[in-house]
């Protein structure tokens, strides 16, 4: 039943490695972008608050497939933006990371904002009373506590991101689900075996993430 795997025709590990890379780059990108957005959402400047709120409400409500295909067809194929890549392999990968970061950043931001809400107002008031600026209050007092409160929600966002990377197949990034499509086309006799392999692959990627970050969440949580 699984004999088609021995043909050497399919680079299963290579495809999952691209999935892992997509996830990691997009996770780092969206963590940074999400933190910036969260900072804007709680900032005292109305324009920044307005921008962040508008951005989040627009981007998180766009279907991810539309966003990713829009990046490829709109930015690359129509406007000729390559993000410094020479081949479609590089361009597709970078555009996908851009799309995932733009999308996942909104969820990171909202998780983080809920974390900021767990920090007692007195903490911010006290730091202001000590003469710290808004940026200092945010980065030294509020965010460190907020992050520790939202490790578990962020783990959910990361797991969702891992699975969302399959959407990159829509713009031809050679990750796991693209290989799955190829195998389904070539091996119609082993359809369920193919699906099973890829389902298992994703469980192996996401289950340890959940367990590890669940443990971290318990360790670092601020006891109040």
């Amino acid at each position: 039943m699984f004999d088609f795997l021995d043909s050497g025709q399919y680079d299963l590990l290579g495809a999952f490695w691209v999935t892992v890379q997509l996830t990691l780059y997009s996770a780092v990108g969206s963590l940074i972008w999400g933190t910036v957005l969260a900072g804007m959402r709680v900032s005292p400047v109305p324009l920044m608050r307005g921008f962040a709120a508008a951005y989040i409400n627009v981007v998180r409500n766009i279907p991810l497939t539309v966003l990713i295909i829009g990046c490829s067809l709109g930015l690359n194929q129509t406007l000729g933006i390559t993000l410094g890549g020479d081949t479609f392999k590089d361009i597709g990968f970078r555009l996908a990371v851009l799309g995932f970061t733009a999308y996942t950043g909104t969820f990171v931001c909202e998780a983080l904002r809920s974390g900021i809400n767990t920090v007692p107002v007195g903490q911010a008031e006290a730091s202001r009373a000590l003469g710290l600026s808004f940026v200092q209050t945010l980065t030294l007092i509020v965010l460190p506590q907020a992050f520790r409160a939202v490790v578990a929600p962020l783990a959910n966002v990361l797991i969702a991101l891992t699975k969302n990377t399959t959407v990159a197949a829509a713009i031809g990034v050679a990750e796991a689900s693209l290989l799955m499509k190829e195998m389904v086309e070539n091996e119609p006799q082993a359809l369920f075996a193919v699906f099973g392999i890829f389902a298992l692959g994703f469980v192996l990627l996401t289950l340890p993430t959940g367990l590890l970050l669940g443990w971290v969440a318990k360790r670092v949580a601020v006891k109040r």
Partner: protein, 284 residues
């Protein structure tokens, strides 16, 4: 003011719903009448076709079906004893064709379906009824691509996981910069904007795109024969009786000129030179 607007909107919605049901009712009636007059023993035949390949199998915005595969399907269904209004077309995307047949969701699949051995493990074929070749579509003024090796320095586009895409990667031009999209129309955007240089798949499908009204004069076929794709009609494995009947229908279609006519009608405008009708080899 606000309330009256809501009321008006609701009235419009109700009116639309009523007209919609009225339409549905009348067409249902017509279909069942047709069925009754053609003989009560048979009701409907479900045939899988492509909905997104102009010239081959296409569902138009007004819900009609056009293309060479549709004409072949209609002819074969007629030979099996079904009138055109007894045919129900169902979308058969490439990856699902075997399962649609195996599960009995469709009786036949006529969907640019190349006959090969792996597929024959799950389904049987009748035909072939058409011989296509993998080819390239380029911009009309592009003369830099004349053979497959030229692709090694070019940007190429094809459909995710398709046989044509794999063919390029493994055999024809391993160094070609290959972009894969879910559908061929996505590739056309890039081809028109010079983000890609060529689009590859079966020449029948390419010819269909090139002869669409909105694309006329923009693209041309290079005219290479990079592979042989014998299109067959997929049917349930082991159904010898149906296979024989469909084969007979294909032979008859080729003999009485309907085949030639369908080719002219669907591929004529693109200047595409089709191969002569292939000999029926399956099931004999």
């Amino acid at each position: 003011m606000k309330l009256s607007k809501v009321g008006a909107a609701a009235a419009v919605a109700v009116a639309l719903a009523l007209t919609a049901t009225a339409c549905g009712g009348s067409s249902d009636k017509a279909a069942s009448d047709g069925g009754a007059s053609a003989g009560a023993k048979k009701d409907k035949i479900v045939i899988g076709i492509k909905f997104d390949q102009p010239g081959v199998g296409l569902k138009t915005p007004d819900g009609k079906f056009t293309g060479f595969d549709v004409d072949v399907a209609t002819y074969v269904a007629k030979e099996l004893g079904y009138t055109p209004d007894q045919i129900e077309f169902k979308q058969a995307v490439s990856a699902e064709r075997e399962n649609l047949i195996a599960n009995g969701d469709v009786k036949l699949v006529v969907a640019s379906y190349s006959i090969n051995d792996k597929r024959k493990e799950k389904v049987d074929f009748a035909g072939p009824y058409f011989l296509a070749h993998q080819d390239l579509l380029v911009r009309a003024n592009d003369t830099s691509i004349t053979k497959a090796e030229d692709l090694n320095k070019k940007k190429l586009c094809s459909v995710t996981g398709s046989t044509s895409a794999q063919n390029v990667k493994t055999k024809l031009a391993p160094e070609a910069d290959l972009q894969q999209y879910p559908g061929y129309s996505d590739c056309l955007t890039g081809l028109e904007n010079k983000a890609v240089d060529a689009l590859t798949t079966d020449n029948s499908i390419l010819a269909g795109y090139a002869s669409q009204d909105k694309n006329k004069g923009k693209f041309k076929l290079v005219g290479l024969s990079l592979s042989n794709e014998n299109y067959g009609i997929g049917l349930k494995k082991g159904d010898k009786d149906l296979q024989t009947k469909v084969n007979a229908a294909i032979k008859k279609m080729e003999a009485d000129g309907a085949w030639e006519e369908a080719i002219k009608k669907n591929f004529g405008p693109s200047g595409y030179k089709n191969e002569p009708a292939p000999a029926v080899t399956e099931g004999s």
